[in-house]
Amino acid sequence: MPATEKELAETIRRISGVDTRKCMKCGKCSGTCPAFGEMDIHPHKFVSMVEKGEIDELMQSKSLWTCLSCFACVERCPRNVEPARLIEAVRLAVIRRQGENYLKADQIPELLDEKLPQQAITSAFRKYSK
């Protein structure tokens, strides 16, 4: 039986290790994020939605696949909230489900070019597939 949204929220908090209650809603994460323009749910809102347990919507979010994992939000957050960890946790909650990999092996060949370093492939798989 799939997990309820409440259980999911609990899982997200546990595997991210983030205490969302520490957030004081200053928005510095969103002021910092280099991928802000590509996101539908912005970092500050992401934190707030995890806090409220609205995980289903987050699992549908484009933001999961546009976060650059650059840790700028983590670095600059005045409250040590670490939004990037939350995004990764939700992303994992998606790809850990059977058949939900974001990136599939047969997509790769068309994406390659000659100079692309393999760490790009490895990291993409690590981030987007299980």
Partner: protein
């Protein structure tokens, strides 16, 4: 156990606070059966006049030698009951309290359990009381003079109020002039009156008041002693200018060829000479030589100031002077500084001169400041067209880079800055990034709203993520949370509302005074609500931001409150001392010095004393410890370090505590 004791036990109901959970009659009943107890009763409110008179009457009627009160915490009413006992002729230290409210009735629900525990607590108090000795509090004189550490508005106000009451006050200020941070401010919120206009008259008052002595360019060296009788050593640093001879003409400053030192008063935005008066209204109006900059001190040459001084006031040979003085009370008013922004480089403070702190902006806006009040960019002197203010830089920050607390004053001064800019320069676009706007205070929110509604200041709920230079602009990237957008503003200047922190000197001073300090280096008050201007260390009072972030009116109010406390203390001729002090049994003392090493007050000294001994020699000289009862504060560190048990603490003697242990474990 002395069988001569006749002890009365009084069990308080505290209305239903105790009686609802503890069977007070059963407690009295149980105590009546205890040895030495000749009288036991219960009553609704022991602390009321009715309750107290019952105690007094029982003492007289039964000839009580001691009293156990089962009631609320001794921290609440111990003093009350001691006074009551004393008025009936009983030694006040023959009163013991069993705390059956906070430690019993309020935390236990089961009536049986609570009653049983209350009986144990009462027996414990009785067991201790059986071993109590009548103690007499000694008296000590009060030196009728106060010391104020810090010469900002807090220190000045405290000193003026104390002097007004007729007592001598000394102000010790580490910089060359009094005035403090307030002297650096341009205008003050919410009235926008000029800081100098209201501060400088007070500085003059302080200087002219014959009861006030100013020690500027001076630092605290050490403090010893106790309430009513502190001894302080003050280091009056060499100014190299004779204060008595100097006329303050300023010619030396004009002639000084060394002009590269950062001007501290202007927050380093411009430079000053090596011999300098910090600002025009400085008090005393006497320059000081910065020996690290002075060519004479560096090379032995120059001496232009000396040559040009017709008053012959320049004295290169002047030495630091140590002044030792007695004080009855000490006011700490050490103030604050903005935090260093080195851990906030995302705002580019260290990389771009046009990113300034609010205090620097204050100087830029000030007519006596480095730009003569012209709003121009520090980098190129150009007039800015767009200014971004960022609030909460380092405040409310638990990441370890800043401070966890709200600095309290930033919302208001930022509104002030925004408003002043818009008023003087309507062409300048002003944006303010805020997390929350906090404006509790008379006319404060109205003030902030005026900035928005009347002066069109753009308040953006959100935070800046990064400031980067882009051509001759500053690209400010931040969030607008209401619009859920990331915005980029091309600004000409960025003003950071840096968090404030207590002056770092305060740690040293707190240690000297044995005053406690919190994790943020703010001095701790004796009670956060009921004793907000007293330090837990008797005789030490707190004034201004050293106790917590405050604006000017709050600082002045607190300064006067501290002064009132000082006056109350100095008005007394004698102070009762705590009689619960250490005492060494000379017949047991080995003279080993262990107790002296752990005494935080230096209350223990040693003497050689002749003792009779058995045998042909009859006497021998032994080294023994002697406690200065006026200095001892009664912590008991010495009692445990003493292997022979010679050292004991009155009121908390080893035997008394053992008796308590035994009573609990009975």
């Amino acid at each position: 156990m002395s069988s001569l004791h006749k002890i009365g036990v009084f069990v308080c109901w505290c209305g239903s606070n105790i009686a609802a959970t503890v069977d007070v009659a059963a407690v009295a009943e149980a105590m009546r059966a205890e040895p030495n107890v000749v009288y036991a009763t219960d009553y609704q409110y022991m602390c009321s006049e009715g309750g107290q008179s019952r105690i007094r009457e029982a003492i007289k009627e039964y000839g009580l030698t001691g009293v156990v009160i089962c009631s609320c915490s001794p921290r609440m009413h111990e003093a009350t009951f001691r006074k009551a006992a004393q008025s009936a002729g009983l030694n006040p230290y023959m009163v013991e309290i069993a705390n059956i409210r906070e430690h019993c009735s309020w935390i236990h629900k089961d009536r049986m359990d609570a009653t049983a525990k209350a009986i144990v607590l009462a027996r414990t108090a009785l067991a201790k009381l059986n071993l109590n000795q009548p103690l007499t509090a000694g008296e000590s004189n009060v030196v009728k003079r106060a010391l104020v550490i810090g010469g900002g508005i807090a220190g000045i106000q405290s000193a003026l109020d104390i002097a007004e009451a007729g007592y001598e006050v000394d102000i010790v200020e580490k910089t060359p002039t009094i005035g403090g941070r307030m002297a650096q401010l341009d205008k003050t919120f919410p009235t926008l009156d000029c800081a100098a206009c209201i501060l400088t008259p007070k500085m003059v008052d302080a200087a002219q008041n014959e009861k006030i002595t100013l020690y500027t360019y001076s630092e605290m060296e050490s403090v010893s002693g106790f309430v009513g009788n502190f001894t302080a050593k003050i280091r009056k640093k060499a100014r190299h200018v004779n204060e008595d001879l100097c006329t303050g003409c300023g010619l030396c400053q004009e002639k000084c060829p060394s002009r590269k030192a950062k001007n501290e008063f202007n927050m380093g935005l411009n430079t000053r000479t090596a011999i300098y008066i910090p600002f025009a209204q400085a008090i005393p109006n006497v320059p000081v030589i910065d020996t690290e900059q002075c060519i004479h001190f560096k090379t032995g040459k120059c001496g232009l100031c000396q040559m040009n001084c017709s008053a012959k006031a320049i004295d290169f040979e002047q030495q630091d002077e140590i002044i030792e003085r007695q004080y009855g009370a000490i006011v700490v008013a050490t103030g604050f500084r903005p935090i260093s922004l080195e851990r906030f480089d995302e705002f580019g403070y260290s990389q771009n001169p046009d990113v300034v702190t609010s205090l620097e902006f204050e100087r830029i806006m000030n007519a006596a400041g480095p730009t003569k009040g012209q709003l121009v960019r520090p980098s190129d002197g150009k007039h800015p067209h767009c200014i971004v203010f960022v609030q909460c830089v380092g405040s409310r920050d638990t990441s370890g880079c800043g401070k966890p607390y709200c600095s309290k004053i930033c919302c208001m001064y930022t509104a002030k800055h925004a408003m002043l800019v818009r008023e003087k320069y309507p062409d300048v676009e002003v944006h303010v990034f805020y997390i929350d706007v906090r404006t509790p205070g008379k006319n404060f929110d109205e003030f902030y709203r005026r900035a928005v509604e009347q002066y069109d200041v753009d308040y953006i709920k959100g935070m800046v993520g990064k400031v980067s230079s882009h051509g001759d602009k500053l690209q400010v990237q931040g969030s607008d949370l209401i619009a859920d957008k990331q915005i980029i503003i091309d600004a000409d200047m960025v003003v950071l509302a840096a968090a404030i922190e207590p002056d770092p000197e305060v740690r040293k001073i707190a240690t000297m005074l044995t005053a406690s300090i919190d994790t943020n280096n703010f001095l701790t008050e004796a009670h956060p609500k009921l004793r907000p201007v007293e330090s837990p260390t008797a005789g030490v009072f707190l004034s201004g931001v050293c106790q917590g972030p405050k604006d000017i009116p709050e600082t002045v109010a607190q300064a006067s409150a501290a002064a009132a406390k000082v006056i109350g203390l100095l008005a007394k001729d004698k102070l009762k001392r705590n009689p619960c002090v250490a005492h060494s049994d000379e017949m047991l003392c080995n003279g080993c010095s262990a107790c002296e090493k752990v005494c935080p007050y230096g209350a223990i000294s040693y003497m050689d004393k002749e003792f009779r001994v058995p045998g042909p020699k009859r006497t021998e000289i032994r080294r023994i410890a002697v406690v200065n009862e006026a200095v001892c504060q009664g912590c008991g560190a010495c009692t445990v370090t003493c292997p022979s048990g010679a050292m004991d603490l009155k009121g908390f003697s080893t035997k008394q505590i053992m008796a308590e242990v035994d009573a609990i474990c009975r």
